[in-house]
């Protein structure tokens, strides 16, 4: 733990995990708010406007948190990962700079207008600023995924002098085949988070008998959006992403599935704890042949196990990778079940009265966050021991002159500061939920009062 490499890794892992709690909600909510505003515009139903105003306030709080915790991410490429940045900055700097130039200006400008301009802009223009906020948010997601996709599967580059990596073809970077499934999988996961959060708050209001009109809009929108999202996460996006990993990162696939032996008709493990000393699984429960089928569409296809790859190419934390992946898939499965039951109940007109189901929806709030975090851990731990897959090892990436001691100092600083931020965030969100979606005109946040 006191090696500088470990400190820099933990520094980035902690700050990025915390950061992503906020954008995943805002990216998903941006879409849902546009949907609510569109329904309001088409039908003239004022409750939809009240619903969208309420979620705009939640959006604004999360957006501010996303901004202040996002700036450290850009800085850390230079502060903590200087060797990596010196080698690869000419490539991934393109997409990171594009994010700033194309999406942040757009998003910050039009979010300001969207939040305070409802009366002055008129209905259609106000709707349009909401659409622009959505475009900004989803563009931002695209550029970040393009950056990560390049680190997972580098394309459009050539090697220069002294190990530097030079951009060779901009389209290789922007149209990297890795982007498609990862982007869709990630953005739909954001829609899942926002939908379940919306349904959860709706369930809370419905159970307490407050703001019942809007609660039903929240439940309806959340449950329908959530159902579409959880299925799309499984197929085609999760499936597509899995097959990219099988094709380009077979070692990662073996490690995340807990597959130690090469086998024909490889099973999928549902439960079982990897023993990375003996290279076995304890008390496994498996579905025979399923991994072969999902990967190659043939039940008896051969899937290579970890033992057939040189250990120096194995991810360095196989157990954590294995659990991250299984937690993502396990929670995804539970959320599919919950959404199926909820949408069935909604269509039968019984959702609003079903106490048990409302309780389950309300308590489901943390699980999409855990699933998305576990998903990102699968992607990033799965990429190890590489910072750029096949090109640069993570061990070669940190800043050469920043000591472990300085890294721990700032890591502790971030932990303390983020604890304070978390408490303030919960306080602000609690206030909004307690206040609820009222009939008041436009929200006035913070300094605009």
């Amino acid at each position: 733990m006191d090696s500088a490499l470990a400190v820099h890794r933990l520094h980035f892992a902690f700050t990025v995990t915390y950061h992503y709690l906020f954008p995943q909600l805002t990216m998903g909510l941006a879409l849902l708010i546009v949907i609510l505003k569109t329904v309001a515009l088409k039908t003239g139903n004022e409750h939809y406007n009240e619903a969208s105003r309420f979620w705009a306030k939640i959006f604004a709080i999360n957006f501010a948190m996303g901004v202040v915790t996002g700036i450290p991410m850009e800085f850390q490429f230079g502060t903590n990962w200087a060797r990596f940045s010196k080698a690869a900055g000419g490539v991934i700097g393109q997409t990171l700079a594009m994010e700033g130039v194309f999406s942040f200006f757009l998003e910050s400008t039009f979010l300001g207008l969207f939040l305070v301009g409802e009366q002055r802009l008129g209905r259609t223009l106000h709707w349009f600023t909401g659409v622009l906020v959505f475009v900004g948010a989803w563009l931002s997601g695209f550029f970040i995924i393009a950056t990560d996709a390049w680190m997972q599967h580098p394309t459009g580059y050539r090697m220069g002098a002294n190990g530097s990596i030079l951009l060779d073809n901009i389209w290789g970077l922007i149209l990297n085949p890795w982007i498609l499934w990862q982007y869709l999988h990630n953005m739909i996961a954001a829609v899942m988070t926002a939908s379940i959060v919306m349904a959860s708050i709706g369930a809370y209001y419905q159970l307490t008998g407050k703001f019942v009109e809007q609660a039903r809009i929240f439940l309806r929108t959340g449950v329908i959006g959530g159902t579409v999202a959880v299925f799309a996460l499984l197929f085609p996006t999760g499936d597509g992403q899995g097959r990219m990993i099988a094709a380009h990162q077979p070692i990662t696939l073996a490690a995340m599935e807990g597959l130690f032996e090469t086998s024909s008709g490889a099973p999928i493990v549902l439960i079982g704890q990897p023993d990375t000393g003996k290279l076995t699984l304890d008390n496994p429960i498996m579905v025979p042949g399923a991994l072969s089928f999902l990967t190659y569409r043939r039940w008896e296809a051969e899937v290579k196990g970890l033992k057939d790859f040189p250990p120096e190419l194995w991810p360095d934390n196989i157990s954590l990778l294995y659990y991250s992946y299984h937690i993502m898939v396990g929670l995804g499965t539970l959320l599919i079940l919950l959404m199926v039951v909820s949408v069935w109940s909604l269509l039968r007109g019984r959702l609003y009265q079903s106490k048990r189901l409302l309780w389950a929806l309300m308590l489901a709030l943390p699980f999409p966050y855990i699933a998305t975090t576990a998903g990102w851990m699968t992607a990033e731990i799965g990429r190890q021991p590489w910072v750029i897959y096949g090109l640069m090892r993570t061990a070669d990436g940190p800043s050469p002159r920043v000591s472990a001691g300085n890294g721990i100092f700032t890591l502790l600083g971030f932990m303390g500061l983020y604890l304070v931020l978390g408490i303030l965030f919960l306080f602000l969100v609690y206030k909004e939920i307690d206040h609820g979606p009222g009939r008041a005109a436009m929200p006035v946040t913070g300094a605009n009062e």
């Binding site: 709080i61 501010a64 901004v67 202040v68 700036i71 450290p72 850009e74 800085f75 490429f77 230079g78 502060t79 903590n80 200087a82 060797r83 940045s85 010196k86 900055g89 000419g90 490539v91 700097g93 393109q94 990171l96 700079a97 594009m98 994010e99 700033g100 130039v101 194309f102 942040f104 200006f105 757009l106 910050s108 400008t109 300001g112 207008l113 220069g160 530097s164 030079l166 951009l167 060779d168 901009i170 800043s399 050469p400 002159r401 920043v402 000591s403 300085n406 100092f409 700032t410 600083g413 971030f414 500061l417 931020l421 303030l424 602000l428 946040t445 913070g446 300094a447 605009n448 009062e449």
Partner: protein, 342 residues
């Protein structure tokens, strides 16, 4: 040629950030030390409330552009100034949060706490940005691999063993603090009404003297400390246009305060900041980060830039992108023109 073009584009982008976020940093300072009532504090907050996060986007976009155009500089400077930059991050976070949460509870204790956080973090950021600029001008001990690490302070001398904080960088920090205080005062005068407006003009006028004195002082000291600057100006006399712009801006602030033209005095203050920063950029060129121990290790436009292909492609998207972004900024400021409602 193209790396030099990027050098100037980024210099202008950073100057744009300083001009824009500079007035809300200055306003933050006045918010804490200059206001007399909660109603006045609300006016100050409101004058920056809907623009500060857009202004900070200039920092993020400027950082991203620096990263892709000069990865050698980005990695060296960010890891070398590690401690100072982490503190900048913490201060940016605290400042952003204080603006957003201050109005969220109806309690005078709550408000005065966040007032101190807002004013304090704004003041420290104004100081730290100046210290950072001072470090770049003075130079840092870059090794042959292109990296360095500076402790926060060492012996407070700007020599070979300098830390981030020495008497020279603190001097630049104070100049930055004074300049942004003046800049923020002209902004507050422009955006507010009544007694606050009058006092803000008075502060701008008082800070002007400090800015004028410090401008002379840091120019003399910087020319002696970094011999590359006078050599550069002597070799390329057209470069005097940049300090002349700064002087014109400084004169304009004085003149337009006297004439009570608030918009013109604010714009003059913008011009002053722009002139000072471009003067520094011109004076250092072609260095982007000189070495204070081994001149041959200094980072230049040529040895820290990305490959030509990426830089050329970058122009194709960066120029239209920034035209759009500048358009948004103009749009917002036009919509928000005039005084804030008390």
């Amino acid at each position: 040629m193209i790396p030099a073009l990027w050098f100037w584009l980024i210099a202008i982008m950073i100057a744009g950030y300083v001009v824009l976020d500079g007035f809300d940093l200055g306003a933050g300072l006045l918010h804490l030390f200059g206001t007399r009532s909660d109603q006045e504090r609300q006016q100050v907050l409101k004058s920056v409330g809907s623009v500060w996060d857009g202004n900070e986007v200039w920092l993020i976009a400027g950082g991203g552009t620096l990263y892709f155009a000069f990865p050698g500089l980005y990695s060296a400077a960010f890891s070398g100034f590690y401690l100072a930059l982490m503190m900048v991050l913490w201060l940016l976070i605290l400042r952003g949060i204080s603006i957003e949460v201050r109005g969220e509870a109806d309690s005078s204790m709550w408000k005065s706490f966040w007032d101190v956080v807002f004013g304090g973090s704004s003041a420290l950021l104004a100081l730290l940005f100046g210290v950072a600029l001072g470090n770049v001008v003075r130079g840092v001990p870059i090794d042959s691999e292109g990296f360095f690490f500076l402790p926060l302070w060492n012996n407070f001398q700007p020599g070979a063993n300098a830390g981030i904080i020495d008497w020279y960088t603190v001097l630049i920090g104070l100049a930055s603090l004074a300049a942004l205080a003046m800049h923020g005062s002209t902004w507050v005068a422009l955006k507010t009404t009544g007694d606050l407006e009058k006092r803000a003009s008075g502060w701008a006028s008082n800070f002007w003297w400090a800015v004028a004195a410090l401008t002379v002082l840091i120019t003399v000291v910087s020319f002696r400390l970094q011999p590359h600057i006078p050599a550069q100006f002597a070799a390329n006399r057209w470069g005097y246009i940049f300090p002349l712009l700064a002087l014109a801006g400084l004169a304009g602030v004085r003149l337009f305060i006297a004439r009570q033209n608030e918009l013109a005095s604010f714009l003059s203050s913008c011009l002053y900041l722009l002139g000072m920063l471009t003067s520094a950029a011109f004076g250092l060129f072609p260095y982007v980060l000189p070495s204070n121990v081994a001149p041959e290790n200094g980072l230049t436009v040529a040895n820290s830039a990305a490959a030509l292909y990426g830089l050329t492609i970058g122009l194709w998207w960066w120029i239209p992108g920034m035209v759009l972004a500048t358009g948004y900024s103009f749009f917002v400021y036009r919509r928000l023109r005039g005084k804030v409602q008390a």
